[in-house]
């Protein structure tokens, strides 16, 4: 049996077999030295078995299995039926004990391969809690349970990924979350038939296939996941993923940040309006600039117009190509800034942003106003920490830019219409994306683009009105 396991694992060097002869019985301990903890194996497996060796008793082969089961001190001991199960358990960090080449036991000896609980790096909060999810399923669940100490927080586990066997946890609060939503989420997740699920992004992609707009929100903050659960949403924890998925999500959710819940309403209102303006600026500014300078110079005050003409005369390209070059250059700069190590990151920013920008203006390739337009638009997009909304802004910026170049201000209105239609026609797991505006929910309008007052209970009326159905 042990040879078969070894063969099926390709005689991998990290699969270790320790054979113990116990008079007339043979015990084989098989484990992965990378996934299992050597101290756990010593304490929970080898030490108890060594006591039997010291006693030097004759043990009948029929009773030894029960004896070992009782001796082992591990928290989770299971009897396995097949070699397939044994192999699966080895790669979950369990130690497999084969007794007399017949019976198979598995005992949990997982090693901790986590980086520990660190502070949130993307969704940064000034005043709120600092902890963030890690790559460990249990830690992530624990971080949520720590905030909602309630027996109604239900977790349903399933394993996805034909090859990766990734553990997925679907969390919701029984009695708050709508049953049809839970059912729909379960059905969609079970249908996922990927070979590999490395991260929550795989699930997000599978669940958001039907639309361009993000239907699943991702958060690395346990406090936000807890808020979502209390609202009646469903959270999905994916093993090895430092983010938790929140379903359903609404357009307004992308304008809310962790700090909104930890500061005065007036401050939150101000920053939310600012974020909404940033969203519009990020999408429309390059398109507006192109449409005004190419079709409607009437809209520009005389002195500014003369200034713009002067800047344009030195540039050999049409304004559209100029702005396209700048936007692509900024995208490359941003991408490289994300990928490169922190220590050289600042020097790349200085080189790319300041020196290259200045040199491009001096060389007459780009006009200074173009740098200002692209910089304001790109900085406005950086207000949003959710990657999905940043991507949405990016695609719409290109669309509006092309429409502005072809049709002027008229094109901008067409682009705005497309954006509104797209948002209004999207649903997230059957719930309208435009909540709380359509359907109009008066109480929640006060906590949307503005924050006048918070709900006493966090329950979302749209999500919980049919919770028993």
């Amino acid at each position: 049996m042990k040879e078969e396991i070894l063969n099926r694992c390709g005689n991998s060097t990290d699969i270790i077999i320790r054979t113990i002869n116990l008079k007339n019985n043979v015990i084989d301990c098989i484990y992965s030295e990378t996934l299992s903890s050597s101290s756990a194996i010593t304490n929970y497996v080898l030490k108890p078995i060594s006591e039997l060796i010291i006693e030097n008793k004759n043990i009948a082969s029929t009773t030894i299995i029960n004896l070992i089961k009782n001796l082992l001190t591990g928290s989770s001991i299971n009897e396995l039926k097949s070699i397939d199960e044994a192999i699966k358990n080895i790669f979950l960090g369990y130690t497999i004990i084969i007794i007399n080449n017949k019976n198979i036991l598995s005992i949990e000896t997982k090693a901790s391969l986590d980086r520990g609980i660190n502070s949130s790096s993307i969704e940064v909060s000034i005043t709120g809690p600092k902890d963030s999810f890690t790559e460990n399923f249990n830690t992530n669940l624990g971080l949520i349970r720590k905030r909602i100490r309630n027996n109604n927080l239900f977790v349903k586990s399933i394993t996805l990924g034909n090859e990766s066997h990734t553990k997925i946890g679907i969390c919701y609060i029984n009695g708050i979350a709508e049953k049809s939503l839970i059912k729909k989420v379960m059905e969609k997740i079970i249908k996922i038939n990927n070979d590999i699920i490395i991260d929550g992004g795989y699930i997000t992609e599978e669940l958001s296939k039907s639309t361009f707009l993000p239907q699943v929100n991702q958060t690395e903050r346990p406090d936000l996941a807890s808020f979502a659960l209390l609202e009646g949403k469903v959270c999905i924890i994916v093993d090895n993923s430092p983010t938790v998925l929140i379903i359903p999500t609404f357009f307004i959710d992308f304008f809310h940040t962790p700090d909104d819940y930890y500061q005065k309403n007036i401050n939150t209102t101000f920053t939310r309006i600012l974020r909404f303006l940033a969203f519009l600026i990020a999408i429309f500014l390059p398109g507006y600039y192109i449409s005004v300078t190419s079709f409607n110079p009437t809209a520009i005050p005389t002195n500014l117009l003369l200034n713009l003409i002067e800047q344009h005369t030195i540039v050999p390209f049409p304004a559209f190509f100029e702005i396209l070059i700048m936007i692509i250059a900024f995208e490359i700069l941003r991408e490289s800034d994300i990928r490169i190590p922190n220590k050289v990151g600042s020097s790349v920013s200085i080189l790319g942003g300041l020196i290259l920008g200045d040199a491009a203006v001096s060389a007459g390739i780009i006009s200074p106003i173009m740098i200002i337009v692209v910089a304001i638009s790109s900085i406005s997009a950086l207000v949003f920490s959710y990657n999905s909304i940043v991507n949405l802004i990016r695609y719409y910026r290109y669309l509006i830019l092309i429409l502005g170049m072809l049709l002027g201000i008229y094109g901008l209105f067409i682009g705005f219409g497309i954006l509104v239609i797209n948002i209004a026609s999207t649903t997230s797991f059957g719930f309208p994306y435009t909540y709380p505006f359509v359907p109009f929910i008066k109480t929640d309008i006060l906590d949307s683009f503005i924050k006048v007052k918070s709900r006493q209970n966090k329950r979302n009326p749209l999500l919980t009105k049919n919770r028993n159905r």
């Binding site: 190419s294 409607n296 200034n307 005369t313």
Partner: protein, 309 residues
């Protein structure tokens, strides 16, 4: 599917006609038009994007205004862009046909908005074109608030007046050694330079005046919060002018009322082609229009006093 392609094509081709890149336009600040025999002299002041050379004045002589603009456009290799234009200077020697051509040009020109100040000068030269437009506008508003003789009028106002009354009153400026505002000049059906009194009268009738001062027998009177209400009863036109006068002598009130009544009555008698006449003819009224002028000056004594230590 063909319909959808057609709609998309139409939408996208719509933009092509309006394409107007800022690097291909020459921003016009002011235009001067005069006639010399059968030819037009067109003066165009183009704002320069180069800060060292702020503005350039180009002069073209052609048989039509459009031809002058086309020639200049070809010369500059840029499209003349009139949306930022703020002054139109017309010469004193233009007649009805010239005005028709000028109005047609500005109404047909896509980039023209018609919201620019329009003046008539005795003779167009570089001096008037080099003068800052804001200064000219300030002079016009100052002349309204001091002696009430002119007001800032746009081309749209002129065209509106001509369509309604066949006559328009355009500020007239003389440029000899200095630039002086000389009241109004009537254009279109009648070409006549009005006196200061007549110009004041038309401003009162048109309710243009809010505050102004008049000089009677070397005494200056300042009138404030003025307004006019005109009423038409059959062939009888009632002009009611109301003003407040802050002074020390109540008898001044009568002097002012008599003086203003005199100039308005004189204006209506001497200018048959005036503000009301065409409207009344248009609606079939007879020629015997009677004017009833009521000047109501509200005398307010100045409150005097002494400052004690």
């Amino acid at each position: 599917m063909k319909k959808i392609y057609l709609i998309i094509l139409i939408i996208f081709l719509t933009g092509c006609t309006n394409y107007n890149d800022i690097s291909n336009i020459a921003v016009v600040s002011s235009i001067g038009i005069s006639v010399n025999g059968n030819n037009y002299n067109v003066y165009v002041k183009v704002l320069s994007s180069n800060q060292e050379n702020e503005e350039n004045i180009y002069i073209k002589t052609c048989t039509t205004i459009d031809e002058c603009f086309n020639n200049l456009s070809t010369e500059l290799m840029k499209r003349l862009y009139l949306t930022h234009m703020d002054l139109l200077i017309l010469s004193n020697n233009l007649v009805k046909d010239n005005y028709n051509q000028i109005f047609n040009f500005f109404l047909n020109e896509k980039s023209s908005r018609g919201s620019f100040t329009t003046i008539i000068v005795e003779h167009i030269d570089n001096k008037i074109l080099e003068t800052n437009t804001t200064d000219i506008k300030n002079m016009l508003s100052l002349s309204l608030s001091t002696n009430g003789i002119t007001t800032d009028i746009t081309l749209t106002d002129i065209i509106k007046d001509i369509l309604n009354y066949k006559i328009s009153y355009v500020p007239f400026i003389k440029t000899q050694n200095t630039i002086n505002v000389k009241g109004y000049k009537t254009i279109y059906d009648e070409n006549k330079i009005l006196t200061n009194e007549e110009s004041l009268a038309i401003n009162i009738i048109k309710n243009n005046i809010k505050t102004f001062q008049i000089t009677i027998d070397k005494n200056v009177y300042k009138l404030e919060q003025c307004y006019t209400i005109n009423k038409v009863h059959n062939d009888n036109i009632e002009i009611n002018f109301y003003c407040k006068y802050y002074g020390n002598n109540k008898s001044d009130k009568n002097n002012i009322e008599n003086y203003l009544t005199k100039i308005i009555t004189s204006f209506t008698q001497n200018n048959k082609n005036n503000y009301f006449e065409y409207l009344l003819y248009k609606y079939g009224r007879n020629n015997n229009i009677k004017y009833n002028v009521n000047i109501n000056i509200d005398y307010k004594p100045n409150i005097g006093g002494e400052i004690f230590e």
